[in-house]
Protein backbone atom coordinates (compact mmCIF):
# COMPACT_ATOMS: atom_id res chain seq x y z
CA UNK A 1 0.00 0.00 0.00
CA UNK A 2 2.65 2.45 1.05
CA UNK A 3 4.83 1.55 -1.96
CA UNK A 4 1.87 2.17 -4.24
CA UNK A 5 1.31 5.53 -2.62
CA UNK A 6 4.98 6.39 -2.80
CA UNK A 7 5.08 5.40 -6.47
CA UNK A 8 2.01 7.49 -7.22
CA UNK A 9 3.50 10.37 -5.30
CA UNK A 10 6.83 10.21 -7.08
CA UNK A 11 5.16 10.01 -10.48
CA UNK A 12 3.04 13.03 -9.55
CA UNK A 13 6.09 14.97 -8.44
CA UNK A 14 7.94 13.92 -11.61
CA UNK A 15 5.05 15.26 -13.65
CA UNK A 16 5.15 18.47 -11.61
CA UNK A 17 8.88 18.78 -12.25
CA UNK A 18 8.41 18.20 -15.98
CA UNK A 19 5.73 20.87 -16.03
CA UNK A 20 8.02 23.25 -14.19
CA UNK A 21 10.93 22.54 -16.56
CA UNK A 22 8.75 23.34 -19.55
CA UNK A 23 8.09 26.83 -18.18
CA UNK A 24 11.56 27.83 -19.39
CA UNK A 25 14.46 29.52 -17.59
CA UNK A 26 12.31 32.42 -16.34
CA UNK A 27 9.86 29.93 -14.87
CA UNK A 28 12.62 27.96 -13.17
CA UNK A 29 14.26 31.12 -11.81
CA UNK A 30 10.88 32.21 -10.45
CA UNK A 31 10.35 28.83 -8.84
CA UNK A 32 13.79 29.14 -7.23
CA UNK A 33 12.93 32.57 -5.79
CA UNK A 34 9.66 31.19 -4.44
CA UNK A 35 11.48 28.21 -2.94
CA UNK A 36 13.97 30.48 -1.12
CA UNK A 37 11.14 32.68 0.19
CA UNK A 38 9.20 29.61 1.31
CA UNK A 39 12.28 28.25 3.08
CA UNK A 40 12.73 31.57 4.87
CA UNK A 41 9.04 31.55 5.76
CA UNK A 42 9.30 28.05 7.23
CA UNK A 43 12.53 28.48 9.16
CA UNK A 44 12.90 32.28 9.24
CA UNK A 45 13.12 32.83 12.98
CA UNK A 46 15.80 30.09 13.20
CA UNK A 47 17.81 31.43 10.27
CA UNK A 48 17.90 35.04 11.39
CA UNK A 49 21.49 35.88 12.37
CA UNK A 50 20.38 38.21 15.19
CA UNK A 51 17.30 38.64 17.33
CA UNK A 52 14.81 40.34 14.96
CA UNK A 53 12.79 41.84 17.82
CA UNK A 54 15.55 43.18 20.06
CA UNK A 55 15.60 46.98 19.88
CA UNK A 56 18.66 49.05 20.70
CA UNK A 57 17.83 52.72 20.35
CA UNK A 58 21.47 53.79 20.35
CA UNK A 59 21.85 51.94 17.03
CA UNK A 60 18.77 53.33 15.31
CA UNK A 61 19.27 54.13 11.60
CA UNK A 62 22.90 52.94 11.73
CA UNK A 63 23.96 51.74 8.29
CA UNK A 64 25.52 48.41 7.28
CA UNK A 65 28.49 47.55 9.50
CA UNK A 66 30.35 44.54 10.87
CA UNK A 67 28.16 41.50 10.24
CA UNK A 68 24.97 43.54 10.02
CA UNK A 69 24.74 43.50 6.21
CA UNK A 70 21.70 45.76 5.90
CA UNK A 71 22.24 47.87 9.00
CA UNK A 72 19.71 48.71 11.68
CA UNK A 73 16.14 49.97 11.53
CA UNK A 74 14.46 52.89 13.33
CA UNK A 75 14.61 51.06 16.66
CA UNK A 76 18.11 49.71 16.13
CA UNK A 77 17.02 46.17 15.20
CA UNK A 78 19.01 44.16 12.65
CA UNK A 79 17.28 44.70 9.27
CA UNK A 80 18.43 41.45 7.65
CA UNK A 81 17.16 39.41 10.61
CA UNK A 82 13.82 41.17 10.47
CA UNK A 83 13.55 40.53 6.74
CA UNK A 84 14.26 36.82 7.17
CA UNK A 85 11.95 36.48 10.16
CA UNK A 86 9.35 38.65 8.44
CA UNK A 87 9.10 36.16 5.57
CA UNK A 88 6.88 34.06 7.82
CA UNK A 89 3.96 36.43 8.26
CA UNK A 90 4.50 37.91 4.78
CA UNK A 91 4.20 34.52 3.03
CA UNK A 92 1.83 32.70 5.38
CA UNK A 93 -0.92 35.32 5.09
CA UNK A 94 -1.19 35.09 1.29
CA UNK A 95 -0.98 31.29 1.49
CA UNK A 96 -4.00 31.18 3.80
CA UNK A 97 -5.89 33.57 1.50
CA UNK A 98 -5.11 31.44 -1.55
CA UNK A 99 -6.11 28.18 0.13
CA UNK A 100 -9.37 29.61 1.46
CA UNK A 101 -10.49 31.41 -1.65
CA UNK A 102 -9.36 28.79 -4.18
CA UNK A 103 -11.04 26.00 -2.21
CA UNK A 104 -14.28 27.91 -1.77
CA UNK A 105 -14.10 29.28 -5.32
CA UNK A 106 -13.61 25.81 -6.82
CA UNK A 107 -16.47 24.44 -4.76
CA UNK A 108 -18.81 27.23 -5.85
CA UNK A 109 -17.70 27.10 -9.49
CA UNK A 110 -18.08 23.34 -9.82
CA UNK A 111 -21.42 23.37 -8.01
CA UNK A 112 -22.73 26.16 -10.26
CA UNK A 113 -21.47 24.44 -13.41
CA UNK A 114 -22.78 21.03 -12.37
CA UNK A 115 -26.27 21.95 -11.24
CA UNK A 116 -26.80 24.95 -13.52
CA UNK A 117 -30.26 26.53 -13.36
CA UNK A 118 -31.28 28.07 -10.06
CA UNK A 119 -28.08 27.15 -8.17
CA UNK A 120 -25.95 28.71 -10.89
CA UNK A 121 -28.02 31.90 -10.88
CA UNK A 122 -27.94 32.09 -7.08
CA UNK A 123 -24.18 31.55 -6.88
CA UNK A 124 -23.45 33.94 -9.72
CA UNK A 125 -25.57 36.75 -8.33
CA UNK A 126 -24.12 36.22 -4.86
CA UNK A 127 -20.63 36.55 -6.33
CA UNK A 128 -21.70 39.66 -8.25
CA UNK A 129 -22.57 41.31 -4.95
CA UNK A 130 -19.23 40.36 -3.40
CA UNK A 131 -17.64 41.85 -6.53
CA UNK A 132 -18.90 45.27 -5.40
CA UNK A 133 -16.34 45.24 -2.56
CA UNK A 134 -12.71 45.83 -3.54
CA UNK A 135 -10.36 43.61 -1.48
CA UNK A 136 -8.63 46.38 0.44
CA UNK A 137 -11.93 48.05 1.30
CA UNK A 138 -13.40 44.80 2.64
CA UNK A 139 -10.25 44.26 4.71
CA UNK A 140 -10.48 47.76 6.19
CA UNK A 141 -14.15 47.14 6.99
CA UNK A 142 -13.22 43.87 8.68
CA UNK A 143 -10.54 45.63 10.71
CA UNK A 144 -13.06 48.26 11.81
CA UNK A 145 -15.51 45.57 12.92
CA UNK A 146 -13.31 42.84 14.37
CA UNK A 147 -10.19 44.82 15.16
CA UNK A 148 -6.91 45.04 13.27
CA UNK A 149 -4.97 41.86 12.67
CA UNK A 150 -3.87 39.30 10.11
CA UNK A 151 -6.80 36.83 10.54
CA UNK A 152 -9.55 39.38 9.83
CA UNK A 153 -7.63 40.79 6.85
CA UNK A 154 -6.91 37.33 5.42
CA UNK A 155 -10.52 36.21 5.69
CA UNK A 156 -11.79 39.48 4.19
CA UNK A 157 -9.44 39.13 1.21
CA UNK A 158 -10.40 35.48 0.69
CA UNK A 159 -14.01 36.55 0.38
CA UNK A 160 -13.20 39.53 -1.87
CA UNK A 161 -11.23 37.32 -4.30
CA UNK A 162 -14.00 34.71 -4.60
CA UNK A 163 -15.77 36.25 -7.64
CA UNK A 164 -12.50 36.43 -9.60
CA UNK A 165 -11.57 32.81 -8.83
CA UNK A 166 -15.04 31.40 -9.33
CA UNK A 167 -15.74 33.21 -12.61
CA UNK A 168 -12.74 31.69 -14.41
CA UNK A 169 -13.17 28.22 -12.93
CA UNK A 170 -16.91 28.15 -13.59
CA UNK A 171 -16.29 28.66 -17.28
CA UNK A 172 -13.78 25.80 -17.35
CA UNK A 173 -16.03 23.54 -15.27
CA UNK A 174 -18.98 24.28 -17.57
CA UNK A 175 -16.91 23.18 -20.57
CA UNK A 176 -15.91 20.01 -18.73
CA UNK A 177 -19.52 19.36 -17.75
CA UNK A 178 -20.48 19.21 -21.44
CA UNK A 179 -17.82 16.58 -22.29
CA UNK A 180 -19.09 13.16 -23.41
CA UNK A 181 -17.07 11.33 -20.72
CA UNK A 182 -19.09 13.06 -18.00
CA UNK A 183 -22.34 11.91 -19.58
CA UNK A 184 -20.87 8.40 -19.90
CA UNK A 185 -19.96 8.30 -16.21
CA UNK A 186 -23.42 9.55 -15.31
CA UNK A 187 -25.01 6.76 -17.35
CA UNK A 188 -22.81 4.27 -15.52
CA UNK A 189 -24.33 5.54 -12.31
CA UNK A 190 -21.35 7.39 -10.83
CA UNK A 191 -22.44 9.92 -8.24
CA UNK A 192 -22.15 13.63 -8.97
CA UNK A 193 -19.68 14.12 -6.11
CA UNK A 194 -17.49 11.31 -7.38
CA UNK A 195 -17.46 12.62 -10.96
CA UNK A 196 -16.67 16.14 -9.79
CA UNK A 197 -13.95 15.15 -7.33
CA UNK A 198 -12.30 12.41 -9.40
CA UNK A 199 -12.64 13.84 -12.90
CA UNK A 200 -13.85 17.42 -13.25
CA UNK A 201 -11.64 19.01 -10.59
CA UNK A 202 -8.46 17.11 -11.63
CA UNK A 203 -9.12 18.03 -15.24
CA UNK A 204 -9.35 21.73 -14.48
CA UNK A 205 -6.46 21.26 -12.00
CA UNK A 206 -3.78 23.03 -14.06
CA UNK A 207 -6.05 26.05 -14.35
CA UNK A 208 -6.69 25.97 -10.59
CA UNK A 209 -2.95 25.86 -9.89
CA UNK A 210 -2.28 28.73 -12.31
CA UNK A 211 -5.09 30.75 -10.75
CA UNK A 212 -3.80 30.06 -7.24
CA UNK A 213 -0.29 31.18 -8.22
CA UNK A 214 -1.47 34.50 -9.67
CA UNK A 215 -3.77 35.00 -6.70
CA UNK A 216 -0.84 34.54 -4.30
CA UNK A 217 0.80 37.62 -5.85
CA UNK A 218 -2.34 39.71 -5.45
CA UNK A 219 -2.85 38.51 -1.88
CA UNK A 220 0.75 39.29 -1.02
CA UNK A 221 0.48 42.87 -2.32
CA UNK A 222 -2.90 43.49 -0.69
CA UNK A 223 -1.96 41.99 2.68
CA UNK A 224 1.30 43.93 2.70
CA UNK A 225 -0.69 47.07 1.91
CA UNK A 226 -3.07 46.37 4.80
CA UNK A 227 -0.19 45.74 7.17
CA UNK A 228 1.45 48.91 5.86
CA UNK A 229 -1.77 50.77 6.73
CA UNK A 230 -1.51 49.41 10.27
CA UNK A 231 -4.59 47.20 10.02
CA UNK A 232 -2.91 43.85 9.35
CA UNK A 233 0.08 42.27 11.07
CA UNK A 234 0.78 44.34 14.17
CA UNK A 235 4.23 45.62 15.14
CA UNK A 236 6.59 44.62 16.69
CA UNK A 237 6.00 41.38 14.72
CA UNK A 238 8.41 41.32 11.79
CA UNK A 239 6.58 41.68 8.47
CA UNK A 240 7.63 43.24 5.16
CA UNK A 241 4.61 45.53 4.96
CA UNK A 242 5.01 46.61 8.58
CA UNK A 243 8.75 47.22 8.04
CA UNK A 244 8.00 49.66 5.23
CA UNK A 245 5.59 51.65 7.32
CA UNK A 246 7.68 51.71 10.52
CA UNK A 247 10.82 52.76 8.61
CA UNK A 248 8.99 55.27 6.41
CA UNK A 249 10.52 58.26 8.21
CA UNK A 250 13.97 57.02 7.22
CA UNK A 251 13.25 58.08 3.65
CA UNK A 252 13.16 61.74 4.59
CA UNK A 253 15.94 61.39 7.16
CA UNK A 254 18.34 59.93 4.60
CA UNK A 255 18.18 56.29 5.77
CA UNK A 256 16.07 54.61 3.07
CA UNK A 257 17.69 51.15 3.29
CA UNK A 258 15.36 49.39 5.79
CA UNK A 259 12.15 50.41 3.96
CA UNK A 260 13.63 49.83 0.51
CA UNK A 261 14.94 46.37 1.43
CA UNK A 262 11.52 45.29 2.68
CA UNK A 263 9.88 46.72 -0.45
CA UNK A 264 12.33 44.83 -2.65
CA UNK A 265 11.51 41.55 -0.91
CA UNK A 266 7.83 42.01 -1.75
CA UNK A 267 8.51 43.06 -5.34
CA UNK A 268 10.89 40.17 -6.07
CA UNK A 269 8.55 37.52 -4.71
CA UNK A 270 5.56 39.04 -6.54
CA UNK A 271 7.47 39.19 -9.85
CA UNK A 272 8.46 35.54 -9.44
CA UNK A 273 4.91 34.51 -8.64
CA UNK A 274 3.50 36.50 -11.58
CA UNK A 275 5.98 35.10 -14.08
CA UNK A 276 5.41 31.52 -12.93
CA UNK A 277 1.64 32.02 -12.82
CA UNK A 278 1.58 33.45 -16.34
CA UNK A 279 3.59 30.50 -17.67
CA UNK A 280 1.30 28.04 -15.89
CA UNK A 281 -1.74 29.80 -17.37
CA UNK A 282 -0.28 29.52 -20.88
CA UNK A 283 0.33 25.82 -20.30
CA UNK A 284 -3.16 25.23 -18.97
CA UNK A 285 -4.57 27.05 -21.97
CA UNK A 286 -2.38 25.12 -24.41
CA UNK A 287 -3.44 21.79 -22.90
CA UNK A 288 -7.12 22.71 -22.90
CA UNK A 289 -7.03 24.31 -26.33
Amino acid sequence: MSTVMAAAESSASRRGLARLRSTGPAGIASAAVIAVATFAAAFGPLLAPYDPDLPNLSLSWVGPAGGHLLGYDFEGRDVLSRLVAGAQSSMLGPLVVVILSVTAGTLLAVTAAWRRGVSDTAISSGLNIVFAFPGILLAVLAAAIFGAGLPAAAIALSIAYLPYVARVLRGAALKERGQPYVAALEVQGASATAICLRHVVPNIGPLIVAQATILFGYAMVDLAAISYLGLGVQPPTANWGVMISENKDGLLLGHPLPAVAAGLCIVIVVIAVNVLGERLFEQARAVRG
Partner: protein, 316 residues
Amino acid sequence: MRGRFVARRLVLLVASLLVASFVIFAALYLAPGTPLAALSGGQPLPPGSAQVLEQRYHLNESFLAQYWYWLDNALHGNLGISITLRENVSTLIASRIWTTAGLVLYASVIIVVLGIGLGIVSGLRSGPLDTSVLVVTAVSAAIPAFVAAIALIMVFAVKLGWFPALGNGTGFLSNVRHFTLPAVALAGASLAIVARVTRAAVRAEGDREHVQTAVSRGIPARYVIQRHILRNAAIPITTITGITIASLIAVAAVVEVAFSLNGLGAYLVQAAESKDIAVVQGISLLLVTAFVVVNLLTDLICAALDPRLAHRDSPR
Protein backbone atom coordinates in the same frame (compact mmCIF):
# COMPACT_ATOMS: atom_id res chain seq x y z
CA MET B 1 -32.51 46.53 -27.34
CA ARG B 2 -29.85 49.05 -26.34
CA GLY B 3 -32.34 50.65 -23.97
CA ARG B 4 -33.23 47.32 -22.40
CA PHE B 5 -29.57 46.50 -21.93
CA VAL B 6 -28.92 49.78 -20.12
CA ALA B 7 -32.08 49.38 -18.07
CA ARG B 8 -31.15 45.87 -16.95
CA ARG B 9 -27.66 46.97 -16.04
CA LEU B 10 -29.08 49.82 -13.97
CA VAL B 11 -31.43 47.46 -12.13
CA LEU B 12 -28.50 45.14 -11.39
CA LEU B 13 -26.48 48.12 -10.17
CA VAL B 14 -29.21 49.24 -7.78
CA ALA B 15 -29.71 45.67 -6.55
CA SER B 16 -26.06 45.10 -5.78
CA LEU B 17 -25.78 48.53 -4.14
CA LEU B 18 -28.77 47.70 -1.94
CA VAL B 19 -27.21 44.45 -0.79
CA ALA B 20 -23.82 46.11 -0.34
CA SER B 21 -25.39 48.86 1.76
CA PHE B 22 -27.11 46.17 3.84
CA VAL B 23 -23.76 44.49 4.49
CA ILE B 24 -22.19 47.82 5.42
CA PHE B 25 -25.06 48.59 7.77
CA ALA B 26 -24.90 45.13 9.31
CA ALA B 27 -21.30 45.90 10.31
CA LEU B 28 -22.86 47.45 13.44
CA TYR B 29 -24.27 44.09 14.43
CA LEU B 30 -21.34 41.96 13.31
CA ALA B 31 -19.05 43.80 15.69
CA PRO B 32 -18.54 42.09 19.00
CA GLY B 33 -20.68 43.68 21.72
CA THR B 34 -23.85 45.72 21.40
CA PRO B 35 -24.51 48.10 18.48
CA LEU B 36 -24.41 50.93 20.99
CA ALA B 37 -20.89 49.90 21.98
CA ALA B 38 -19.94 49.67 18.29
CA LEU B 39 -21.31 53.15 17.63
CA SER B 40 -19.43 54.64 20.54
CA GLY B 41 -16.19 53.01 19.48
CA GLY B 42 -16.16 50.89 22.63
CA GLN B 43 -15.81 53.91 24.91
CA PRO B 44 -18.13 54.44 27.86
CA LEU B 45 -20.88 56.95 27.12
CA PRO B 46 -22.67 59.37 29.38
CA PRO B 47 -26.34 58.30 29.65
CA GLY B 48 -27.42 61.39 27.70
CA SER B 49 -25.41 60.57 24.57
CA ALA B 50 -26.41 56.92 24.77
CA GLN B 51 -29.99 58.06 24.55
CA VAL B 52 -29.24 60.37 21.63
CA LEU B 53 -27.51 57.54 19.74
CA GLU B 54 -30.35 55.17 20.51
CA GLN B 55 -32.79 57.67 19.13
CA ARG B 56 -30.78 58.55 16.06
CA TYR B 57 -30.26 54.93 15.07
CA HIS B 58 -33.71 53.79 16.24
CA LEU B 59 -31.97 51.04 18.21
CA ASN B 60 -35.18 49.99 19.95
CA GLU B 61 -36.87 49.12 16.67
CA SER B 62 -36.45 46.03 14.51
CA PHE B 63 -33.24 45.40 12.57
CA LEU B 64 -34.88 45.96 9.19
CA ALA B 65 -36.54 49.16 10.34
CA GLN B 66 -33.18 50.42 11.56
CA TYR B 67 -31.62 49.59 8.19
CA TRP B 68 -34.43 51.42 6.46
CA TYR B 69 -33.95 54.58 8.55
CA TRP B 70 -30.20 54.42 8.03
CA LEU B 71 -30.51 53.98 4.26
CA ASP B 72 -33.13 56.71 3.99
CA ASN B 73 -30.85 59.08 5.88
CA ALA B 74 -27.85 58.06 3.79
CA LEU B 75 -29.75 58.74 0.57
CA HIS B 76 -30.55 62.20 1.88
CA GLY B 77 -26.89 62.84 2.58
CA ASN B 78 -27.09 62.25 6.31
CA LEU B 79 -24.48 59.66 7.23
CA GLY B 80 -24.51 60.13 10.97
CA ILE B 81 -21.96 61.76 13.25
CA SER B 82 -18.30 60.93 13.76
CA ILE B 83 -17.75 59.72 17.31
CA THR B 84 -14.17 61.01 17.46
CA LEU B 85 -14.57 64.39 15.72
CA ARG B 86 -18.22 65.00 16.75
CA GLU B 87 -19.08 66.37 13.35
CA ASN B 88 -21.37 65.32 10.52
CA VAL B 89 -19.85 62.47 8.52
CA SER B 90 -21.08 64.05 5.28
CA THR B 91 -19.28 67.30 6.12
CA LEU B 92 -16.11 65.40 6.91
CA ILE B 93 -16.40 63.45 3.66
CA ALA B 94 -17.14 66.57 1.62
CA SER B 95 -13.93 68.23 2.77
CA ARG B 96 -11.82 65.24 1.67
CA ILE B 97 -13.58 63.87 -1.38
CA TRP B 98 -11.82 66.13 -3.91
CA THR B 99 -8.40 64.95 -2.81
CA THR B 100 -9.31 61.35 -3.56
CA ALA B 101 -11.25 62.18 -6.71
CA GLY B 102 -8.42 64.35 -8.01
CA LEU B 103 -5.83 61.69 -7.23
CA VAL B 104 -7.80 58.91 -8.94
CA LEU B 105 -8.58 61.14 -11.92
CA TYR B 106 -4.94 62.20 -12.32
CA ALA B 107 -3.82 58.56 -12.14
CA SER B 108 -6.54 57.55 -14.63
CA VAL B 109 -5.30 60.09 -17.15
CA ILE B 110 -1.76 58.75 -16.78
CA ILE B 111 -3.01 55.18 -17.24
CA VAL B 112 -5.10 55.99 -20.30
CA VAL B 113 -2.44 58.10 -22.05
CA LEU B 114 0.71 56.14 -21.17
CA GLY B 115 -0.69 52.66 -20.63
CA ILE B 116 -2.81 52.46 -23.77
CA GLY B 117 -0.27 54.50 -25.76
CA LEU B 118 2.68 52.25 -24.88
CA GLY B 119 0.57 49.16 -25.43
CA ILE B 120 -0.49 50.23 -28.92
CA VAL B 121 3.01 51.28 -29.97
CA SER B 122 4.63 48.07 -28.78
CA GLY B 123 1.77 45.95 -30.10
CA LEU B 124 2.10 47.36 -33.60
CA ARG B 125 5.84 47.00 -33.96
CA SER B 126 8.20 44.34 -32.61
CA GLY B 127 11.68 45.45 -31.79
CA PRO B 128 13.78 46.82 -28.94
CA LEU B 129 11.00 49.18 -27.81
CA ASP B 130 8.52 46.32 -27.63
CA THR B 131 10.94 44.14 -25.69
CA SER B 132 11.74 46.89 -23.21
CA VAL B 133 8.05 47.67 -22.71
CA LEU B 134 7.46 43.98 -21.97
CA VAL B 135 10.27 43.77 -19.42
CA VAL B 136 9.56 47.10 -17.73
CA THR B 137 5.84 46.36 -17.42
CA ALA B 138 6.49 42.86 -16.06
CA VAL B 139 8.52 44.45 -13.26
CA SER B 140 6.33 47.46 -12.58
CA ALA B 141 3.15 45.36 -12.54
CA ALA B 142 4.63 43.72 -9.45
CA ILE B 143 5.42 46.95 -7.62
CA PRO B 144 2.72 47.75 -5.06
CA ALA B 145 1.69 51.40 -4.77
CA PHE B 146 3.32 51.87 -1.36
CA VAL B 147 6.65 50.49 -2.58
CA ALA B 148 6.45 52.74 -5.64
CA ALA B 149 5.78 55.58 -3.21
CA ILE B 150 9.06 54.90 -1.38
CA ALA B 151 11.06 54.86 -4.59
CA LEU B 152 9.41 58.03 -5.91
CA ILE B 153 9.89 59.93 -2.64
CA MET B 154 13.51 58.79 -2.49
CA VAL B 155 14.40 59.84 -6.02
CA PHE B 156 12.14 62.73 -6.99
CA ALA B 157 11.48 64.35 -3.62
CA VAL B 158 14.62 63.74 -1.54
CA LYS B 159 17.43 63.39 -4.14
CA LEU B 160 16.22 65.64 -6.96
CA GLY B 161 13.78 67.81 -5.03
CA TRP B 162 11.52 68.18 -8.06
CA PHE B 163 8.32 67.41 -6.20
CA PRO B 164 7.20 67.77 -2.59
CA ALA B 165 7.17 64.49 -0.64
CA LEU B 166 4.13 65.06 1.55
CA GLY B 167 0.90 67.00 1.83
CA ASN B 168 -1.87 68.39 -0.35
CA GLY B 169 -0.66 71.86 -1.28
CA THR B 170 -2.84 74.94 -1.79
CA GLY B 171 -4.06 76.35 -5.08
CA PHE B 172 -4.38 74.49 -8.36
CA LEU B 173 -0.77 74.53 -9.58
CA SER B 174 0.58 73.59 -6.19
CA ASN B 175 -2.03 70.81 -6.03
CA VAL B 176 -0.85 69.41 -9.35
CA ARG B 177 2.74 69.47 -8.10
CA HIS B 178 1.79 67.78 -4.83
CA PHE B 179 -0.37 65.17 -6.56
CA THR B 180 2.09 64.18 -9.28
CA LEU B 181 4.14 61.66 -7.31
CA PRO B 182 1.07 60.12 -5.61
CA ALA B 183 -0.71 59.82 -8.95
CA VAL B 184 2.32 58.13 -10.52
CA ALA B 185 2.60 55.74 -7.55
CA LEU B 186 -1.11 54.96 -7.83
CA ALA B 187 -1.01 54.53 -11.61
CA GLY B 188 2.21 52.47 -11.83
CA ALA B 189 1.11 48.85 -11.52
CA SER B 190 -2.21 49.44 -13.31
CA LEU B 191 -0.45 51.26 -16.13
CA ALA B 192 1.74 48.20 -16.66
CA ILE B 193 -1.22 45.83 -16.72
CA VAL B 194 -3.15 48.07 -19.14
CA ALA B 195 -0.10 48.33 -21.42
CA ARG B 196 0.36 44.55 -21.46
CA VAL B 197 -3.28 43.78 -22.20
CA THR B 198 -3.42 46.51 -24.86
CA ARG B 199 -0.28 45.12 -26.49
CA ALA B 200 -1.71 41.59 -26.52
CA ALA B 201 -5.05 42.80 -27.96
CA VAL B 202 -3.37 44.83 -30.71
CA ARG B 203 -1.10 41.87 -31.54
CA ALA B 204 -4.05 39.47 -31.72
CA GLU B 205 -6.04 41.77 -34.01
CA GLY B 206 -3.01 42.49 -36.21
CA ASP B 207 -2.55 38.77 -36.83
CA ARG B 208 -6.12 38.24 -38.00
CA GLU B 209 -6.84 37.33 -41.59
CA HIS B 210 -8.89 40.33 -42.56
CA VAL B 211 -6.09 42.62 -41.35
CA GLN B 212 -3.47 40.67 -43.28
CA THR B 213 -5.72 40.84 -46.35
CA ALA B 214 -6.16 44.58 -45.97
CA VAL B 215 -2.39 45.02 -45.67
CA SER B 216 -1.68 42.88 -48.73
CA ARG B 217 -4.24 44.82 -50.75
CA GLY B 218 -2.14 47.87 -50.12
CA ILE B 219 -4.55 49.77 -47.90
CA PRO B 220 -2.56 52.48 -46.07
CA ALA B 221 -1.36 51.35 -42.65
CA ARG B 222 -3.09 54.28 -40.98
CA TYR B 223 -6.53 53.05 -42.13
CA VAL B 224 -5.79 49.43 -41.30
CA ILE B 225 -4.71 50.41 -37.79
CA GLN B 226 -7.63 52.76 -37.20
CA ARG B 227 -10.45 50.83 -38.78
CA HIS B 228 -9.50 47.23 -38.26
CA ILE B 229 -6.96 46.81 -35.48
CA LEU B 230 -7.90 49.50 -32.97
CA ARG B 231 -11.64 49.24 -33.57
CA ASN B 232 -11.60 45.57 -32.60
CA ALA B 233 -8.94 45.82 -29.90
CA ALA B 234 -10.93 48.60 -28.24
CA ILE B 235 -13.14 46.17 -26.29
CA PRO B 236 -10.46 44.36 -24.24
CA ILE B 237 -8.59 47.64 -23.83
CA THR B 238 -11.67 49.41 -22.46
CA THR B 239 -12.48 46.50 -20.17
CA ILE B 240 -9.03 46.32 -18.57
CA THR B 241 -8.74 50.10 -18.31
CA GLY B 242 -12.13 50.31 -16.60
CA ILE B 243 -11.38 47.49 -14.17
CA THR B 244 -8.00 48.91 -13.17
CA ILE B 245 -9.34 52.45 -12.78
CA ALA B 246 -12.14 51.11 -10.56
CA SER B 247 -9.59 49.29 -8.42
CA LEU B 248 -7.67 52.57 -7.90
CA ILE B 249 -10.57 53.83 -5.80
CA ALA B 250 -9.62 51.46 -2.98
CA VAL B 251 -5.85 51.51 -3.50
CA ALA B 252 -5.91 55.33 -3.26
CA ALA B 253 -6.10 54.82 0.53
CA VAL B 254 -2.59 53.36 0.55
CA VAL B 255 -1.17 56.18 -1.56
CA GLU B 256 -2.87 58.83 0.54
CA VAL B 257 -1.29 57.40 3.66
CA ALA B 258 2.12 57.10 1.98
CA PHE B 259 2.11 60.75 0.91
CA SER B 260 0.14 62.11 3.90
CA LEU B 261 -2.67 63.30 1.66
CA ASN B 262 -5.83 64.35 3.39
CA GLY B 263 -8.20 62.11 1.39
CA LEU B 264 -11.11 59.76 1.98
CA GLY B 265 -9.02 56.59 2.00
CA ALA B 266 -6.54 57.84 4.59
CA TYR B 267 -9.49 59.03 6.67
CA LEU B 268 -11.19 55.62 6.30
CA VAL B 269 -8.09 53.88 7.62
CA GLN B 270 -7.84 56.29 10.53
CA ALA B 271 -11.55 55.77 11.30
CA ALA B 272 -11.10 51.98 11.16
CA GLU B 273 -8.26 52.25 13.67
CA SER B 274 -10.30 54.34 16.08
CA LYS B 275 -13.44 52.27 15.39
CA ASP B 276 -15.37 55.34 14.32
CA ILE B 277 -18.04 53.14 12.77
CA ALA B 278 -20.29 55.88 11.30
CA VAL B 279 -17.35 57.25 9.33
CA VAL B 280 -16.28 53.78 8.17
CA GLN B 281 -19.83 53.05 7.00
CA GLY B 282 -20.22 56.37 5.21
CA ILE B 283 -16.93 56.20 3.33
CA SER B 284 -17.35 52.49 2.51
CA LEU B 285 -20.79 53.19 1.06
CA LEU B 286 -19.38 55.98 -1.07
CA LEU B 287 -16.36 53.99 -2.31
CA VAL B 288 -18.45 50.90 -3.10
CA THR B 289 -20.86 53.09 -5.06
CA ALA B 290 -18.04 54.71 -7.02
CA PHE B 291 -16.48 51.29 -7.70
CA VAL B 292 -19.73 49.80 -8.99
CA VAL B 293 -20.55 52.87 -11.08
CA VAL B 294 -17.15 52.86 -12.79
CA ASN B 295 -17.60 49.16 -13.59
CA LEU B 296 -21.07 49.86 -15.01
CA LEU B 297 -19.73 52.70 -17.16
CA THR B 298 -17.05 50.35 -18.49
CA ASP B 299 -19.71 47.82 -19.48
CA LEU B 300 -21.79 50.51 -21.16
CA ILE B 301 -18.83 51.89 -23.11
CA CYS B 302 -17.99 48.37 -24.28
CA ALA B 303 -21.58 47.84 -25.39
CA ALA B 304 -21.51 51.15 -27.25
CA LEU B 305 -18.26 50.16 -28.98
CA ASP B 306 -19.57 46.74 -29.94
CA PRO B 307 -23.38 46.56 -30.03
CA ARG B 308 -23.19 42.77 -30.30
CA LEU B 309 -22.24 42.68 -26.60
CA ALA B 310 -25.62 44.11 -25.61
CA HIS B 311 -27.40 41.39 -27.59
CA ARG B 312 -25.21 38.54 -26.45
CA ASP B 313 -25.42 39.62 -22.85
CA SER B 314 -27.17 37.06 -20.72
CA PRO B 315 -27.58 37.25 -16.96
CA ARG B 316 -24.38 35.95 -15.49
